[in-house]
Amino acid sequence: MNSMNESSRSSTTIAIQASLKKRYARERRFQWYGRIAVLTGFVFLFILLADIVVKGTPAFTQHFIKLDIDFNAQEMGVGQTPSTGELAAADYSAVVKSSLREMFPDAKGRSEKKALYRLISIRAEYTLRDMVLENPALIGTRAEVWLLAHSEAGSYLKGQVDPATPESDRRVKDMQIAWLDTLAQAGRTESRFNTTFFLSGDSREPELAGIKAALYGSFYTLLVTFCLAFPIGVMAAIYLEEFAPRNRLTDLIEININNLAAVPSIVFGLLGLAVFINFFELPRSAPLVGGIVLSLMTLPTIIITSRAAIQAVSPSIHEAALGVGASKLQTVFHHVLPVAMPGVLTGSIIGMAQALGETAPLLMIGMVAFIMDVPAGVTDPSTVLPVQIYLWADSPERGFTEKTSAAIMVLMAFLILMNGLAVYLRKRFELK
């Protein structure tokens, strides 16, 4: 008996040893597959991010050019002691132009002069007007003023234009390059942080375009989405999980909620167009409708994740609460929901992040408009960040390329922020 045991044991040992090497090799191989997969993912992510960052970073700076402006009343078309009204309507582009002509007398003929004027952004007129309106005593004097460069001039100053390429292939011409070089050598150019990008709405001129209107649009849209989707989603999840009887009907509802999560988002846009705009006649292009549509899209996500979170709460907590005589509602709100909250919040924030990045359904309801003014409420026409990105990516002007990438960077910053918030909330609640 004993010897039999021993021999069988040793034969087992041999068999195991024989297979051991193979097993370990298989494990190592599997680990390598995993590493390669992860690495590939990282490489692509890195390339994508690097491309966006490299393209987008220049958008955060802007070049200014210093000109000697002669506030000549005659040239501006106003009298010697002009009224405020006159000053507001004065021709400021004339003084900019004459200042440029004075500095570069070599610009002859119409087209050359036009190229010269193109060094300075049309914003210059407003800058000068604001200066004069604030201080009318400037009229008749001469002053050095930093004016915003035109986006094409700016792109040369940022080093984005290669002078070696044939002149016909670039928008910044040889003469302009020469003028800009002269200005740069004279210390009359300066790179500053691009506040315009954050403080303006969209514009036809790349150097004047900003994301403020889109940011506000996104904010209002998400506000509407959150106010609708969060309470409705969480309540639905609580009802389905804690109160609804288990029967055919609730099974059907469950299946349909899952299906709804898989519906292409553009379908929700069509629904929004047909129901909210055409039938209920809510304003087109407004965050109100956008928010409603996105909340329909986010609801399934919130319901599904909230249900999972509620389901994960230990049944012993139910029993404990019911055991001391809590009603079902008290049990849910005092005990189950607080425990499920991290999961509920995580799901909701992920749903909101999805909504923040959503474009297709908003195109359907007209939130793809050209919006210069910051919306003041949920019924004002507006656009949202991803749609703004779509619009800029579609623009032919070169200056919008960097704006596109910069706006993507801002959008991603918000997404990371929201996901970070989700992680933070989960950690915080779990500690308790």
Partner: protein, 298 residues
Amino acid sequence: MSVIATVTEKNTASLEGKAQMDKSSAFDMQSHADMKAYETIGKPFVKNSKMSARNVNVFYGEKQAILDVSLDIGRNEVLAMIGPSGCGKSTFLRTLNRMNDIIPICEVRGEITLDGEDIYESDQDTVMLRARVGMVFQKPNPFPKSIYENVAYGPRIHGLAHSTAEMDEIVESSLRRAGLFEEVKDQLDKPGTGLSGGQQQRLCIARAIAVSPEVILMDEPCSALDPIATARIEELIDELKENYTIAIVTHSMQQAARVSQRTAYFHLGKLIEVGDTKEIFTMPRHQLTENYITGRFG
């Protein structure tokens, strides 16, 4: 007794050579038809009972978990319920405060009264009932909240305290009676889930007595605890019986013997034998009871 005397093969084998037929009976456990006709041996009824169950049948869907059980729980007594796993002890215990209501497929038939009032009457409120019949569960299940809040929760939702001072008073006295106050008095704001298993179970007992119940149901309260913590809970049960009526399910015969005045033995959903604890453990009248308490199966 109209029970056919047959013993399962296994038991027959294990009892080989022993005079087995002097006991009243054993029966074919597969056959519910036989069991229907079975009548509990011993003294299921007491005078002046706190709770009484009459002809209680419990079903989980098609499956019957409790068969025609009638049993009284006397005032200020500790009733122990013993029996092999799955025999329906927990199920029966949970019928006493309608805890089975939360299981959708569970159906309870028969009559259960508390001080003579039917607790399954439709106008009976489960919230009220559970405040009067508290429960301590097998696995300690404190709320993931502070120790104070764990105890204060019941009194708060029932509006038993009218001021913070009164609430403090209730919390302290409940913790004291559960023998936990001295250990936790400096950390009342710490989470109850951070205590040791035994402390958690005493916290759960404190939580149950904080709403001043009349009856406390305990479902294997010590099964997750070490011997020292178990001993403390047993002492506690002994003290609590002065003021409360207690029904305790236990898988430990020693525990039943130590803490209870009466013991009920369940087998496959049937209440086989009830009697004074001393008698049950020294002179079991039913073969199954004897097999169980002598450790032959279960």
